[in-house]
């Protein structure tokens, strides 16, 4: 350790090369934090020199290994733009994107980082479709995409939970439109129906509007009925089927009243 301290404090002619050598050794041993401190000292000295390419790669990766993903993402990106001919280019691009992935928070919080990570990973996949990391990258993209889906789904479901049914229906509509292939689609369609059903059941009969009196409840029942049909069409063996059938029966019962009246 004292040798390390000496190297840290060293100054003068041979010191820079010595630091590089020692940093590299420490890096190989897996002591990334220590290596990183040495690299940080010599990065300015190597700027523009041929060894800089290797140094910058090690320096960037040491941040990654230290789980300082914000800096590693930036450093790898810089590496990729500074050394477009490097053999490590592909790996650096990937690690830059993966750093962004690591920064993505849980789905219930702001997803700015998630979107950035998706963009970066997607760009990586587009540029290097056959690389060794491509499958991992697409797996990560999937995972991040799911976060966005889960977020939109949870918000729409919360509107259902707090009994704001119109907001819930609208949000699930947007969800189905935005994430057509989502694994949450079945749940989304069910809760859209559930919201529409509850909205219709608790609705007032008529509403005054500019275009005259609207039969509000009837319209809402019809809408709920449509949602139930589209649900059954897609998921005939759904775990929700029993609930759906009960709702449909209720809706039909209510609608019957209108058909006899008119």
């Amino acid at each position: 350790c004292s040798e390390y301290q000496k190297a840290l404090k060293a100054d003068g002619e041979g010191a820079i090369a010595e630091k590089f050598k020692m940093g590299e050794a420490l890096y190989k041993e897996g002591k990334f934090a220590k290596a990183n401190r040495l690299f940080a000292q010599i990065v300015p000295d190597y700027r523009g020199k041929p060894q800089a390419e290797k140094l910058m790669y090690l320096y960037s990766n040491s941040f990654y290994q230290m789980k300082d993903y914000y800096v590693s993402g930036y450093q790898f990106e810089r590496f990729a733009s500074s050394y477009p001919k490097s053999e490590k280019l592909e790996e650096a691009t990937f690690l830059s994107a993966k750093s962004a992935y690591m920064l993505s928070p849980v789905y219930t919080k702001d997803q700015t980082e998630t979107k950035e990570a998706i963009e970066k990973l997607q760009e990586y996949i587009n540029v290097y479709p056959d690389s060794e990391y491509a499958s991992e990258a697409s797996k990560l993209v999937q995972e991040l995409d799911f976060k966005l889906e889960k977020k939109a789904y949870s918000i729409a479901k919360q509107y259902n939970h707090i009994s704001d049914y119109p907001a819930s229906v609208r949000s699930f509509d947007n969800f189905v439109f935005e994430f057509p292939g989502s694994v949450l689609r079945e749940d989304a369609l069910f809760y859209r129906l559930d919201s529409a059903y509850k909205l219709a059941m608790n609705s007032i009969e008529y509403k005054n509007s500019l275009n005259g009196i609207i039969p509000l409840k009837r319209n809402r029942l019809k809408e709920a009925k449509e949602y139930s049909e589209s649900f059954v069409k897609s998921y005939i063996n759904s775990k929700y089927l029993e609930d759906v059938n009960a709702m449909v029966a209720d809706i039909d019962e209510e609608l019957k009243g209108y058909s006899t009246k008119s």
């Binding site: 523009g48 219930t108 919080k109 702001d110 918000i155 939970h161 119109p166 907001a167 609208r170 949000s171």
Partner: protein, 847 residues
């Protein structure tokens, strides 16, 4: 930039742009006076060998642009040196911009030089461009003119440095000649008959002539302000119906080096009146409804400014105008244009053309920036939900209420409108928030009450109780569910207090029903005069638990909250004799139900509200035990009085006195076994913005503690203690400490506390900074209040008055800190001289 444009056009003329041919790039070389390596420049330009491009074409101009934007080079040119088939060899020619070597500033004091260097970024090594020289010159000229140096002259010279160092460098000499400070001696008008010179001068808001009495505005001449003021003169005419008024000419006359005069020639034109006003295109609102909003009638003096204000008042976002009427009811895409259709005989007929558009509905509503707070905590507070009709008022209210949560910086919540779609009638909403620290730590030690007191307080205002067993949630504590958790431990040689409280604003997440609970335990030891220490064998314990529910109401309006709480407290005495109790061993139970109704629409920042008001009325009740427990309190009261007489009678024998005391203790134990009382409190406060940054807060408070059974009497607990900083420190008996600055703590009530109090206060607040890291405001106050022991003494006008000044600092990690200097104008009870100055330290109290 001019240079670049020249080069560009020359190239474009050489090879016609449209005739560009496709080439593959061969080698690229760099020439010119530069110290940068060839590779760096080529990489930076974005050109690389093997790239296919059209020459001439966009790629080349992009390369030049890129290099230009680096602000490192001048004279950038790109040439084709030769072509071989479809391979083009390029050469980049450029030269480095000179760096600043030495700067010499003449004409200002030494102290000012540094700020000039900083403001214009004239540090050594900066690239000297034409732009830098021009902006510096303009900046300084403007700056001095603003300070009244109308005749400022700035000269900048650059001299090339010639020495052995390769890089191009220049020395700069900055000559500043401020000249004399120029004031406006006089402003004269000609051509005005309707409005007097004086009125016109008054209409000029920032340009004023010398007046020794006027202190707030100076008589400087600032050109931009002067131009605006010329507009204000016209506005003054417009407000009086002279809509043709114009400035014919204006001149600045230099009297001498120190003063100038302004001469303004106006043409007033004729006065106009409003004629017929018709609305066109309105289907949602009737003509009558719109007329009521416009409040302008035929025959009124024409006033273009007023007309504009009634249609869309830009100065007030919540103004009562036609635009807001549409905006608040979903018509986001509406536009309203007044058009003059005729102006015969100076009577202006107006057509107000309304394009209503489709009503807009919110499509997606999102929140960004919540790095700590979970979605569900935010989305449930948002009043603009997907599918809802657009309403500006709801957007404003959402911003207010998100600010009130206390998790975000109230000054930085912005609603962004995205993807407006007038065809579909939809709009997306995005609320951008910025998290602030919402946890507070209090760790203090101090001397008081006869020894060292240590306090540890933790309060987490955005806690997440469901994450307390998740290791990864500790960053540093589980956060984001909007729950409040507070722990407080306080201990000295004489007492220990432990308290814990928790609240969840949406119990179950379905409705805004706040659940709160708190548990506390206090152990107090009696002071032993012999050992001068705590006597551990004689103690007084208080244990309490409270459960509360608070529900937001929608009637009468949705700013109301109804809260209910049940609390239980047990006082346990163990050989502990004080003035509070006549019995040394015994107990007392306090079971009470509290119901409160409050309304709060203060906005926007909870730390520094600038508008709205807050009212609260609460009642706290115990069960009326005396109604059904069969105890004859009249008899007990009579017996107690009789015994008290024996006790105080000096002729009684010591044995009788002891017997009487024992009996009194027994009676009191009976009376206080279950505390019987009711308490009613009211408080109201208003916030009004007097000027841009000045907020006035009047506040009234009133409280009353009563007994159901007069024979049982008013309890010695739960009383009001008036005076001082109002901080509820360690207290034994459920007392309420009421702030009244300018007097010592709790000095304005009896030793046993008052049963009625009232208080009036006026506070004027001025914000110094409202940044998220620290909010600081200064305040001045006038207040008065009094506490009484019964309704018979009650006199709301016989109050103790005070006035003073103070400052408050709110930092997210420490809560509110402050100091107030109050002057009490009335004597303390039992004294005859006015109390005078008193200093108060305010810690952690928010209101």
């Amino acid at each position: 930039l001019l240079l670049f444009a020249c080069n560009f056009t020359i190239q474009a003329q050489d090879l016609e742009y449209s005739n560009g041919k496709k080439y593959t790039l061969g080698d690229i070389s760099v020439s010119g006076n530069t110290t940068f390596s060839e590779q760096t420049i080529i990489t930076y330009s974005g050109l690389r060998k093997g790239k296919e491009m059209t020459i001439p074409g966009e790629d080349i101009s992009n390369a030049i642009k890129k290099l230009w934007n680096s602000k490192l080079f001048s004279d950038i040119e790109v040439y084709i040196t030769k072509t071989e088939g479809n391979i083009a060899y390029l050469q980049i020619r450029l030269s480095d911009l000179p760096k600043l070597n030495e700067l010499k500033i003449n004409g200002v004091k030494k102290g000012k030089k540094e700020s000039i260097i900083r403001e214009n970024k004239l540090t050594k090594g900066v690239k000297v461009t034409e732009n830098l020289i021009t902006t510096t010159k303009n900046f300084l000229t403007k700056k001095y003119r603003k300070d009244g140096f109308f005749n400022t002259k700035i000269h900048i010279n650059t001299i090339d440095v010639k020495d052995s160092i390769q890089t191009a460098r220049v020395n700069m000499v900055l000559n500043i000649d401020k000249g004399e400070k120029v004031k406006i001696k006089n402003i004269t008008f000609s051509g005005n008959t309707i409005l007097s010179d004086k009125k016109l001068r008054k209409s000029m808001k920032s340009t004023k002539k010398i007046n020794r009495i006027r202190l707030l505005k100076r008589s400087k001449f600032i050109d931009s302000a002067y131009q605006a003021d010329l507009g204000h003169i016209i506005d003054a005419y417009k407000e009086n119906g002279y809509r043709d008024a114009r400035i014919l000419s204006d001149s600045i006359i230099t009297n001498n080096d120190k003063t100038i005069s302004l001469k303004i020639d106006v043409n007033e034109g004729e006065q106009y009146t409003f004629g017929d006003i018709t609305f066109i295109g309105n289907t949602v609102y009737t003509n009558d409804q719109l007329k009521r909003l416009l409040r302008i009638n035929k025959g009124d003096t024409y006033n273009g400014i007023l007309l504009q204000k009634r249609i869309a008042d830009d100065t007030k976002p919540d103004a009562f105008d036609i635009t807001n009427q549409y905006q608040n009811n979903g018509y986001l895409f509406s536009s309203i244009n007044p058009v003059e259709v005729s102006a015969d005989n100076n009577v202006i007929d107006l057509e107000i053309r309304i394009s209503e558009g489709k009503p807009a509905y919110f499509n997606s509503v999102t929140v960004v920036g919540n790095d700590k707070t979970n979605d569900h905590v935010i989305y449930r507070e948002i009043r603009t939900r997907p599918g809802q009709l657009y309403s500006k008022a709801n957007v404003v209210r959402t911003v207010r209420e998100l600010g009130q949560l206390g998790f975000f910086d109230a000054q930085e919540i912005t609603p962004n409108f995205n993807n407006p779609n007038p065809v579909e009638g939809t709009i997306d909403m995005e609320y951008s928030v910025k998290e602030t620290g919402s946890s507070q730590i209090e760790l203090q030690g101090g001397y008081g009450g006869g020894g060292f007191i240590g306090t540890l307080g933790l309060s987490f205002n955005n806690f997440s109780i469901k994450d307390i067993f998740k290791k990864e949630a500790y960053k540093p504590i589980p956060m984001g569910d909007g729950q409040k958790l507070a722990l407080r431990l306080q201990a000295s040689r004489f007492f220990q207090t432990y308290s814990f409280s928790f609240s969840e604003p949406w119990l179950g997440g379905k409705r805004p029903v706040q659940f709160s609970t708190s548990i506390s335990h206090t152990k107090q030891f009696l002071f032993n005069p012999q050992t001068r220490n705590a006597d551990k064998s004689r103690s007084f314990n208080i244990t309490g638990i409270t459960f509360g529910l608070a529900k937001r109401l929608s009637v009468p309006d949705d700013y109301f909250t109804l809260s209910q709480a049940i609390s239980y407290q047990r006082y346990d005495l163990n050989n502990y004799n004080t003035g509070l109790f006549t019995f040394g061993d015994g107990y007392s139970n306090n079971l009470s139900y509290t119901i409160g109704l409050s309304r709060n629409n203060t906005s926007v920042d909870p730390i520094f509200p600038t508008g709205g008001s807050s009212f609260a009325i609460t009642g706290k009740f115990s069960l009326p035990y005396s109604l059904f427990n069969g105890v004859d309190y009249d008899a007990l009261d009579a017996e107690r009085e009789a015994n008290d007489n024996i006790r105080t009678d000096i002729t009684s024998s010591p044995l009788d006195v002891a017997d009487a005391s024992t009996r009194i203790a027994e009676i009191d134990q009976e009376k206080f076994s279950w505390l019987e009382f009711y308490k009613v409190k009211f408080s109201g406060e208003w916030y009004t913005q007097l000027a841009k940054n000045l907020v006035l807060r009047p506040k009234v408070e009133f409280g009353f503690l009563g007994a159901y059974n007069n024979a049982r009497g008013i309890i010695p607990f739960e009383r009001f203690y008036l005076g001082g900083d109002g901080l509820g420190n360690f207290s034994l008996d459920g007392r309420e400490v009421i702030q009244l600055r300018g007097y010592p703590n709790q000095s304005l009530s009896d030793q046993d506390g008052g049963t009625i109090y009232n208080k009036f206060s006026l506070e004027l607040r001025y914000p110094i900074t409202l940044k998220a890291s620290a909010k600081i405001y200064a305040l001045g106050f006038l207040e008065g209040g009094a506490s009484y022991n019964s309704f018979r003494d009650f006199n709301p006008f016989s109050i103790n008055r005070s006035a003073g000044l103070g400052i408050r600092i709110f930092m997210p990690a420490f809560g509110l800190l402050g100091i107030d200097f109050g002057h009490g104008f009335d004597p303390l009870p039992g004294q005859t001289q006015k109390h005078g100055w008193e200093t108060h330290f305010i810690i952690g109290q928010q209101f």
